[in-house]
Each structure stands twice: as structure tokens, then as C-alpha cells.
């Protein structure tokens, strides 16, 4: 494993997140109590998932612009890694929900948006599986990816602001209010986002190299 600067910083940031996430002084709020620590895992994973999906979107657009197959490969693998983070985010969210709201899943717009996103990208993989020809598959899945991402962004960002929501920070307030995040927590929050994103990029890198080797073996 080549120890580049970003891999080392990914490891260090994540170790820092996990250790200090549990050691830092958590500010007390009703209902939330200690579970606010999940903030470092659940929310940061969603952030890094969004970043990876934006990477995928950019490469889908680039593919339609230039038609080089490399962009399509990066697009699909970053969606794959994003899905991993999405599933982890959903699981951590469900655990958090069970202890604060009392149920594993509630009827909340953000949760609907999360489920919708998972379904959309599952459909993306199904679509890719249905087409044999490589360039046709790349073209059609790029089109679907761009369309679905835009609609999902609208879904996740616009709708929660219009309706009441159980999620902290919603129900009239814009997404993530930086004003009510304790400075102590912020010290761990932002590095955690960077850490998870770098981990995602690392996974993406490895997967792309595996694919390249597979392609060389086939040839």
C-alpha cells in the first residue's frame, strides 16, 4: 500500500474522530443527551456520500461531453462507494432514531429522501446491468444519473424546508444550522467529514485499480 499523504491523513482523521468522538464533552440537550455523538458518524457519512455523488455527477456530465470511458468508470465506482456510505448512514441513523424517537423508522421527509436516494441508485445499477454494449451503457446510465441526481437534490433539499420534520435543524430552519453546534463538537465534526470523504476516495481508488487489473486479465 502506497502511503501517500492523503491516505495517512484519512487514517489519522478517522482514528481522531472515533477516539475523541467518544471522549469529548457532549453538550446536554433534552432527548438527545449523549446520542449527539452520533453526529460525528451519521451526518458526516451523509456529507461524504453527497460529495461522492457530486463526483459521480461531474464525471457523468464529463462523459457526455467527451465520451471517454474513463469518466464512466469513475462515475459508477463512486456511486458504488457512495451507496456503501449511504447504507452505513441509514444504519447509524436508524440506531439514533431508536434511542431518541423510539422507533427504527418514522414518517419523516428526510428519511423519505434518504430512502428515495437509495432506490434511485439501486435502479441505476439495475439499468447498467440491463445493457450489454459498453458505450451505450455509459451513455444511458450517465443520462439517468444526471436526471436522478437533480431530482433527488430537489427532493432532499427543498421539500424538508417546506414541511415540519423530526430531524434536528429542520422544520422551518435551513438544513444544518451552524449556530447551534457547540464549538467542541465542531472540532470533531469537520475533520470527520474530511476523514470519511478521504476514506471514500481511497476505496474508489482501490476499486478502480482492481477494475483495471481485471480488464487487463480479460484481454
Amino acid at each position: 500500500m502506497k502511503l501517500t499523504w492523503w491516505k495517512v491523513s484519512a487514517i489519522l482523521l478517522l482514528i481522531y474522530t472515533v477516539i475523541y468522538g467518544f471522549l469529548v464533552e457532549a453538550p446536554r440537550m433534552a432527548i438527545l443527551n449523549e446520542t449527539i455523538r452520533n453526529l460525528f458518524f451519521h451526518v458526516t457519512m451523509w456529507f461524504s456520500m453527497m460529495i461522492l455523488l457530486i463526483v459521480s455527477l461531474i464525471h457523468s456530465i464529463k462523459y457526455l461531453g467527451t465520451f471517454t470511458i474513463r469518466h464512466d468508470e469513475i462515475a459508477v465506482e463512486s456511486v458504488r462507494v457512495a451507496m456503501v456510505f449511504g447504507i452505513l448512514g441509514l444504519l447509524t441513523g436508524m440506531v439514533w432514531a431508536k434511542y431518541t424517537w423510539g422507533a427504527w423508522w418514522v414518517n419523516d421527509v428526510q428519511l423519505n429522501g434518504a430512502a428515495g436516494t437509495m432506490l434511485v441508485y439501486t435502479a441505476y445499477f439495475l439499468l447498467r446491468g440491463a445493457i450489454e454494449d459498453e458505450s451505450k451503457r455509459a451513455r444511458i446510465s450517465s443520462v439517468y444519473s444526471i436526471f436522478a441526481f437533480t431530482m433527488m437534490v430537489v427532493f432532499i433539499i427543498v421539500l424538508p424546508r417546506m414541511t415540519d420534520s423530526l430531524h434536528p435543524g429542520k422544520g422551518g430552519n435551513p438544513g444544518f444550522s451552524t449556530y447551534d453546534l457547540d464549538s467542541n463538537l465542531r472540532l470533531i465534526f469537520y475533520p470527520a467529514i474530511i476523514g470519511w470523504t478521504l476514506l471514500g476516495v481511497w476505496l474508489l481508488n482501490i476499486k478502480l485499480r482492481i477494475n483495471k487489473i481485471n480488464n487487463m486479465i480479460i484481454k
Binding site: 440491463a130 443520462v143 436526471f147 430537489v154
Partner: protein, 218 residues
């Protein structure tokens, strides 16, 4: 551009009016579904159930209708379309045709629904407007999904697989807005949902126009 859009639209409308097979097929499907619901429910007094069932029936009818419209074209007709029309005018006229088509199906469904299961709607104009915007969004999203599915081999179930997640926001908004209309709430309350529906429609229309040329090269 407007001329070509209109001419394709008229061509589709004329073909449909003469053959009537697909419209009649969807009507039979819808009326059959409503009748089965009538046999199970007899009379629905509960507003959320009435609303939800109506939109579920419409959703499945819409997916069937749009998929059938797109996938019934043979290779020859597809080649003809490709040679003669520009992609943007083709997709705009297809979407407009599907909007009118789905809205008329929605109206007939509402008629039979009210006949069998009781009419609970208190604010009918508002209900019609939200139904119109809802079917417009459904039509534009499903038309692009059918285009993707027909490029990917013409498998009808692919339209449903691709379409359902993307349709979720539209469906949630339209169910909420039509429930407000059924309850007879003031227009100011419902306006935000109608604006969201309008925005979703324009967004999906613009995206379809931008992305369809890449599917066109088939």
C-alpha cells in the same frame, strides 16, 4: 421549432384518435381497478385512504400508458423519427401529448372513482389543478424514463424500476396537495405545493430536453 412540435403532437394525437387501442386499453385497466376497489371497500369515507388509493391507481395507469406509448414503436418508425425530427421538438411534443393523455385518464378515473366510491372532494377546481400539475410532472418524468428504457432494450418493467424512485417527490407533493384540496383548505395553504409541482415539471422538462439528444443516437 414550435411548428415542428405542433406537427408531431398533431400526428400523435391523430394516430391515437384513429386507433384508440392504447387509450381504450388504459381506460379498461383503470375502470377495472376502480371497480375491484369498489367491491373491496364499498364506500370510502376516510379522506387519506380515498386520496392515496386514487393516486396509486393513477400512478400505475400512468406508468402503463407512457411505457406503452413509447415501446410500441417498431424499429422502422424509430428510424423515421430519427431522420426527420429534431430531438428537442420530438421530446417536447411527446411530453405534451402524454400530459394531455394522462390528464384525460385522470379525469375519467376521477369520474368513475366518484361514482363508485363516493365523491369526497370539497374544492373541485383546486383538486383539478393539482391533478393537472401532478399528471404533468408524472408525464414528463415517465416520458424520459421510457426513452431511457427503450434505448436500453425496450423492457417495460425497466420503466417502472427507473421511474418509481424519481417519481417519489412528485407523488408525495401531489398527494399532500390533493388532500388539501379534498379537505377544502384555503388556496394560500396549497400554493406552496402547487409551486413545487410546477417547479418539478419545468425542471424535468428542461432536463429531458437537455438529455434526450444523447439517447436519440440510437
Amino acid at each position: 421549432m414550435i411548428n415542428s412540435v405542433l406537427s408531431i403532437f398533431l400526428k400523435d394525437a391523430l394516430l391515437e384518435a384513429r386507433r384508440k387501442t392504447s387509450f381504450a386499453g388504459i381506460l379498461v385497466y383503470v375502470i377495472g381497478t376502480v371497480y375491484v376497489c369498489y367491491l373491496s371497500f364499498r364506500l370510502i369515507i376516510d379522506v387519506p385512504t380515498w386520496n392515496a388509493l386514487y393516486w396509486i391507481i393513477l400512478l400505475f395507469a400512468a406508468v402503463n400508458a407512457v411505457a406503452r406509448n413509447f415501446l410500441v414503436e417498431t424499429r422502422g418508425i424509430q428510424l423515421y423519427n430519427y431522420l426527420i425530427f429534431s430531438p428537442s421538438s420530438f421530446i417536447i411534443s411527446r411530453i405534451l401529448f402524454n400530459v394531455i393523455y394522462l390528464f384525460s385518464i385522470a379525469m375519467v378515473t376521477y369520474l368513475f372513482y366518484a361514482l363508485f366510491l363516493g365523491n369526497l372532494v370539497q374544492d373541485i377546481p383546486m383538486f383539478l389543478i393539482s391533478a393537472f400539475l401532478g399528471t404533468a410532472c408524472l408525464s414528463s418524468i415517465l416520458t424520459l424514463m421510457s426513452a431511457i428504457a427503450s434505448s436500453a432494450g425496450g423492457n417495460p418493467s425497466l420503466v417502472a424500476i427507473l421511474g418509481f424512485p424519481v417519481i417519489l417527490p412528485t407523488l408525495l407533493t401531489v398527494i399532500r396537495s390533493s388532500k388539501n384540496a379534498i379537505d377544502g383548505l384555503a388556496w394560500s395553504v396549497n400554493m406552496q405545493y402547487l409551486i413545487v409541482l410546477g417547479t418539478l415539471f419545468i425542471l424535468s422538462l428542461v432536463l429531458a430536453i437537455l438529455l434526450f439528444p444523447y439517447l436519440w443516437k440510437d
